[in-house]
């Protein structure tokens, strides 16, 4: 019997798992996807927001600011990507300035202390490439950028190191409420590597952090009091030579019609523009399209007109988990012991650590005993990244493990050693995209053209699974279909 079962391993589930792992609790953590962070978490702007935007008095406002502060503490132990580069909300006229003034006041109420209304010259001094017509801006130094999946992975690794039992590829298909516990049935769809997971789990409490599917999971215990609507946002990601065009996160002044498009460097210093917002019917609809992205480009040009569209590396889309209630839903449901953490749309990535604290408060109020572990490991080792190491450190590392000297991704300078390392870390991964998220192999300008065959080989060597079972991400996304001479022969 588990004390707690967390459903969902996005940023919210990861933050909750990490916080709960400090205590003497037996925790099972279920995720439908092949890795942590593979829903909304993996495809968003990667901004650690300042907390001025969400309306004062909402949960969003309260938890966003607190989350921002917590990340800055957590990073010291967990070493995830975080760079507090600051943000501008730019304006072009008095109308915009009035909106910025309102944002400023809202921010002050939310406890954001470092806000400033600045003029166009101030903006240009920090951001010389932006539209010269900018007349004013809200400047927020305490805005940061992260790499959202690497962030979730860091939290998840710490949680697992401290005893949380993560089960990937495990979709929850039924939940029965018994007197003092839940019976949870999962459907396990392994990819290359198979684990011996029991099909049924008993847990005293359930935390529903299933993101886009939080309403589906809630329905399994008969709850129908909220709906999650997928709201798609599309992005364009540019090569690193475009990254230096901006130094901070640049938002446009929101209008009643549009929130505007942001232009930002990513943590790894690509240039990112997006997202738009489009309500879609299907939660899995992540297709990008030419007309929406043309609008993204047009709108972004109002901020920065000099980016080079020929330097686009890829386009992608993410679905926000918008609820019909407008604010975050973090509460114990009508079903005793079933906690909903749902509708976590922007600024959910920022708020996640504070959401975890908030959930612990709910559990504490229910009388759950929180006794700290004596052997809790607060520290998490960062990954080696050959691209970022100096000569001496690199020499020492290669001497110890020669594979760090063999580059398999030339665009991002990722070595075989880093891939070996990713496969040995706490989250048990066996797909291409999981390796990509951890090492950046395949993230560069050639988009895995060069490293695909090499990574296949490494996965084959390390996991001892047939190459045709190795997937890009989900089941059915295998890279190759089999051996030449044989694959199509056998079919006949």
């Amino acid at each position: 019997m588990f004390d707690i079962c967390i459903i969902g391993a996005g940023i919210v589930g990861s933050a909750i798992a990490k916080e709960l792992s400090k205590y003497q609790l037996h925790i099972c953590w279920l995720e439908k996807g092949e890795d942590v962070s593979v829903g909304t978490t993996k495809a968003n702007s990667g901004i650690i927001h300042g907390g001025y935007a969400a309306k004062h008095g909402t949960l969003k406002a309260k938890l966003c600011r607190r989350g921002n502060e917590l990340y800055r503490q957590w990073v010291n132990d967990l070493h995830f990507p975080l760079d507090m580069i600051g943000a501008f909300v730019i304006g072009f006229n008095d109308e915009d300035k009035a909106v910025l003034q309102k944002l400023y006041e809202n921010g002050i109420k939310n406890g954001v202390k470092d806000l400033q209304i600045v003029d166009g010259d101030f903006v240009r001094q920090k951001e010389p490439h932006l539209n010269p017509d900018i007349t004013c801006a809200l400047y927020v130094p305490s805005v940061g950028i992260t790499s959202p999946y690497e962030l979730a992975i860091a939290l998840a690794e710490n949680a697992i190191t401290n005893g949380v039992e993560l089960r990937l590829n495990s979709e929850v298909v039924a939940i029965e409420k018994e007197k003092d516990h839940f019976n949870i049935t999962t459907h396990y769809t392994p990819l290359s590597v198979h684990f011996d997971y029991p099909k049924n789990i008993k847990a005293k409490m359930v935390i529903n952090a299933a993101g886009l599917h939080a309403d589906d999971v809630a329905q399994l215990v008969g709850l129908h009091d909220f709906k999650i609507h997928p709201r798609k946002g599309q992005y364009l990601l540019f090569d690193k030579d475009q990254g230096p065009l901006v130094n901070s996160v640049v938002f446009q002044t929101p209008t009643p019609i549009s929130k505007g498009i942001l232009v930002t460097p990513t943590y790894h210093r690509n240039l990112l523009i997006g997202p738009d917002a489009q309500d879609v019917l299907e939660k899995q609809d992540l297709a990008t399209d030419a007309s929406n992205l043309a609008r993204v480009v047009e709108t972004a040009k109002k901020t920065l007109s000099t980016f080079d569209l020929r330097k686009v590396i890829t386009s992608f889309a993410g679905n926000r988990a918008a609820s019909d209630r407008g604010d975050f839903i973090i509460e114990e449901s009508k079903v005793d012991g079933f906690i909903n953490v749902a509708g976590i749309e922007s600024p959910g990535l920022t708020a996640a650590p504070a959401i975890a604290e908030y959930v612990i408060d709910i559990l504490r109020n229910k009388g759950l005993a929180f006794t700290e572990k004596s052997d809790f490991k607060a520290h998490r080792k960062p990954y080696h990244h050959v691209a970022l190491m100096n000569k001496e450190a690199l020499n020492a590392l290669i001497k110890e493990s020669p594979n760090y000297g063999r580059i398999v991704c030339r665009c991002e300078t990722v070595s075989e050693g880093e891939i070996d390392e990713a496969l040995k870390r706490p989250v048990p991964i066996d797909t291409f995209d999981a390796i990509k998220r951890r090492t950046r192999a395949g993230m560069g300008r050639c988009q895995a053209g060069f490293c695909t065959p090499r990574i296949l080989e490494i996965l084959f060597d390390q996991l001892h699974m047939p190459i045709e079972t190795i997937s890009k991400n989900v089941k059915g996304s295998e890279i190759v279909i089999g051996r030449t001479k044989r694959a199509l022969e056998e079919e006949k």
Binding site: T288, D289, A290, R310, G405, G449, L456, G476, S477
Partner: protein, 418 residues
Amino acid sequence: MKSSYECVVIGGGPAGMAAAVAAKRNGIKDILIIEREKVLGGILNQCIHNGFGVHHFKEELTGPEYSSRMIDLVRAENIESLLDCMVLSVDTKDRTVHAISPEHGYLQIKAKAIVLAMGCRERTRGAIRIYGSRPSGVFTAGTAQRLMNIDGYMPGKKVVILGSGDIGLVMARRLTLEGAKVEMVVELMPYSNGLPRNTVECLYDYNIPLLLSHTVVQIHGKERVTGVTIAKVDENGRPIKETERFVDCDTLLLSVGLIPENEISRGAGVQLDPMTQGAIVGESYQTNVEGIFSCGNVLHVHDVVDFVTEESSVCGEGVARYIAKNLQNEITHKLTPGEGIRSIVPQTINLNNLNEKVKLYMRVKEISEKRAVVASIGDQIIAKKRDIKFLPAQTVTLELKKKDLLTAAGNEVVISVQ
């Protein structure tokens, strides 16, 4: 492992090997080829089809055969090579190559001369902005070629190929021979972008349709590709909405162009030509950075490897001349693309570095018939070559004689199609 060489060649493909062999034969004793793979040969090793070497070796070879001939020459000349080693950067201040390898760790190797011969990479889905979902089953043609020919795996069984570049055409045939069904090759331009020989031997001989003035506008499928939407394009290359149609397939191969891999060159301050996306070089393949040379596909994308060998040999001679302090820096003549010419390599000439002549490698902008490429200085024509047909996919060569350059008044040579 020595820490300094007279010449370091970055890249052990056909260009690097030919440059090294030529430098050695012209008196340079101390040469190192650095190669990231565990074998020399570069991309030739995965090109298992024939048709290589007709000009240079006077016989038809496969890619691996051509590369092994070159490797034999490297061995015969006792040229040192460092395999499984990736060059990270070139520091021009002290002309040092920074590299890492599993065996040697972080290396800093000094060189009097450096040859950049890193080859090229393929343009991707993102770069040509094909939208839609992001399932597995989308490969660049070269990656699929490597998977099949080196690793022995099938990328898919029902294939659409976008782009009629030579690798795409060759892969259409290769996939067909392995039992896959190649539904069609879709080409944005109104003409094939591959060599005519490949269009005939790889598509027509296998009844694979070539759809000109078409493109792929959307990719479908969640896990694996389930199909693509193709459309006809207007004269500006824009898809015409009404002509969109769905094509059922599980694999999309992209053969939509090659980009010289010049990240190291850029880092070293080498000036690039926007047309070739490679370095701007002189007649001896010297770049604007003292002691740094460039040849092969990193300089400009070639259609036949024989030209790579030829130009890289000239580069190797230039390196030898430079190390012997016989290479002059100044530019005496500039080559300018005129009417109908897209690019010219080399871009500059110093007459004093020439023995008798210089060979130019050019690309034309569009298809033309019964025309001539003409080199002129002012009103004076100094070279002319007729051909039945000029194709953008095919390199046009032209030789300029030193004596003609000497006697003509002026220092700008304009090449045009007339």
